[in-house]
């Protein structure tokens, strides 16, 4: 019926067990110790990767869990960046309030788009959300009185009571904390009744309806949650960035996040996190050779589709299992 044609998703229940959990703990230890040992540039990259982790978790909710194509993730991210930056500038409240405002605005737009897209499936849904993403980028670039249009918008420093955040190292603990909160939230959603209804919709809308799941509601809510998390990522961006330009909120960003989720392993939370970090690092390295960047992204995506359609981590897991069984 309307199963995602990209790859068969991994079961979500196994998402955070055994080796994945050990890996996660190790990663958290490294993450916490990071700013002590490294330079400002490395911490900046770490901040950026953590934002991508949150973006990927948002996309995971709608594509990985619910099996619905959303090609407008950069737009929701952008709404979150602008909304939280403008809220932060307008009122003198602790920055998390501005972040929540950004997530709420993005989430509300996501609910609206989800409701509009109810009748669409697969490629039509992908195209419609793509069109919305393009339209939003146009809004960012042309709504001068609010977004400052093509000149981009200065983001004033985030404030937590008396603390004002002026450097990447200062921002890092907050970015890490918010990222962990969203990881916890995503795991909780996935294990909840709501998460079960998402996966039921992904696997068979007919069967989901026969089991008494309100499929329309599940689809709309998954769009809303996905967009709210992307908007929250936008607020995290404002913690350490001082400037946003509409050029960075286009289709390339959506494709980048989609690639991360697919490369990590569609349908798995650990895959979404790992994909964001691994592919985020790759894309940072590729910055040295920008003229080849797009080609290499494309090649990586094609190779994964061909040889590891269930994602990097499932691929490594399979190889380890094969080695153990002496094949």
């Amino acid at each position: 019926m309307s199963s995602p044609p990209l790859a068969s998703p991994a079961p979500a229940r196994r998402a955070l067990s055994g080796p994945a959990l050990i890996g996660l703990v190790a990663a958290v230890i490294v993450a916490v110790a990071l700013p002590v040992f490294t330079s400002g540039y490395v911490v900046y990259i770490a901040n950026l990767l953590l934002v991508f982790v949150v973006l990927c978790l948002g996309l995971h909710i709608v594509i990985g869990e619910t099996g619905q194509f959303s090609m407008a993730h950069a737009a929701f991210y952008g709404i979150g960046i602008y909304a939280s930056a403008l809220a932060n500038r307008a009122v003198d409240l602790p920055y998390p309030v501005a972040m929540l405002f950004g997530a709420l605005v993005a989430g509300a737009v996501g609910l609206f788009i989800g409701a509009l897209a109810l009748r669409m499936r697969d490629i039509y849904l992908a195209l419609a959300t793509f069109a919305f993403g393009e339209a939003m980028q146009w809004v960012f670039a042309n709504w001068d009185s609010v977004t400052n249009g093509p000149n981009g918008l200065r983001i004033s420093p985030a404030r937590f009571g008396p603390i004002e955040i002026l450097s990447d190292k200062q921002a890092y603990p907050f970015v890490l904390f918010f990222c962990l909160v969203i990881i916890g939230l995503t795991v909780a959603i996935s294990r909840s009744r709501l998460g079960r209804s998402f996966r039921a919709v992904r696997e068979s809308e007919v069967a989901a309806m026969a089991m008494g799941i309100d499929v329309r509601r599940a689809r709309i809510v998954s769009f809303g949650l996905s967009a709210a998390i992307a908007g929250f990522a936008g607020g995290m961006f404002g913690l350490f960035q001082t400037f946003i330009h509409p050029d960075s909120l286009g289709f390339q960003t959506t494709i980048l996040v989609l690639t991360m989720v697919v490369v990590g392993g569609l349908g798995s939370i650990a895959g979404a996190i790992g994909g964001a970090i691994v592919f985020g690092l790759i894309s940072e390295v590729l910055r040295q050779a920008p003229q080849y960047q797009e080609i290499i992204y494309g090649a990586i995506l094609i190779l994964f589709m061909m040889y590891a359609p269930r994602g990097l981590f499932a691929f490594i897991g399979d190889r380890i299992r094969e080695a153990r069984h002496g094949r």
């Binding site: 079961p11 039921a200 696997e203 069967a207 309100d214």
Partner: protein, 237 residues
């Protein structure tokens, strides 16, 4: 006995194509009623109007005394009307256990869910053996068992069975129908859609025959089995 389900003159259409016109039928509490007819006669559409997957353009549907023709599908499930869709609509990437859990999606009575799970294992011991296996890797017969088991997990009062014999070997069809009769003996009311008229008339007490979206014939199953036109058209002799 009182009628648990009463369909009263319903019509339904897909776009401009009229699929059902003024169809009426009754399912008394505790009975197995069969709905027969050839491919495309409107049997599945009739079930889909009851489970509210297809809207009715005319007529009434009453379940346990309440008019349900304008309800949302999930509300109908909560009321105890469970459809077993045709075509092996299991959650393929979920385990057998997760599929059964999905059946209890609208329930929160842990003790009742546990009791119904044990009941499902009594009817289908095979499912208990394959609890951790992915549903997509089960055989056709096992998938059909899982579909019925999953519906039982919702605690149904009325089961809408859509072509349970489809694509199964004669031996498996016998097994599935033995279980359907056992479920009925244990108190479950069943509306059964089948193309296999012989076996459906064998296990039901009353039957309706649809032709081109209209009710062509109805009667006690034992009588229809003797009816010449029914024998010629649906029983192959």
């Amino acid at each position: 006995m009182a009628d648990l389900l009463e369909i009263d003159g319903i019509s339904a259409s897909y776009g401009r194509i009229q699929a059902l016109s003024e169809v009426s039928l009754k399912v008394p509490e505790g009975a197995i009623v069969a709905l027969l007819g050839s491919n495309g006669a409107g049997k599945s559409t009739t079930l889909n109007t009851v489970s509210r997957l297809v809207p009715v353009t005319k007529g009434r549907i009453r379940f346990a005394g309440e008019e349900i023709q304008s309800w949302a599908s999930h509300k109908v499930v909560s009321a105890g009307v469970l459809q077993v869709p045709e075509g092996r609509e299991v959650f393929r990437d979920m385990s057998v256990r997760e599929n059964l859990d999905m059946g209890a999606y609208r329930r929160s009575d842990a003790a009742g869910i546990k009791r119904d799970l044990d009941r499902v294992f009594e009817y289908f011991p095979k499912l208990q053996e394959r609890l951790q296996q992915k549903a997509g890797t089960l055989s056709g017969g096992e998938q059909q068992m899982l579909l019925i088991g999953r519906a039982l997990m919702a605690g149904p009062r009325l089961l809408l069975l859509d072509e349970p014999s489809l694509g199964l070997s004669p031996v498996l069809v016998q097994q599935i129908f033995a279980i359907i009769e056992r479920l009925n003996k244990d108190g479950l009311t069943i509306l059964l859609v089948e193309q296999n008229a012989a076996i459906a008339l064998g296990c039901s007490t009353y039957a309706y025959i649809l032709e081109n979206g209209e009710m062509a014939l109805e009667g006690a199953s034992a009588q229809l089995r003797q009816d010449d036109s029914v024998r010629r058209t649906y029983l192959g002799g």
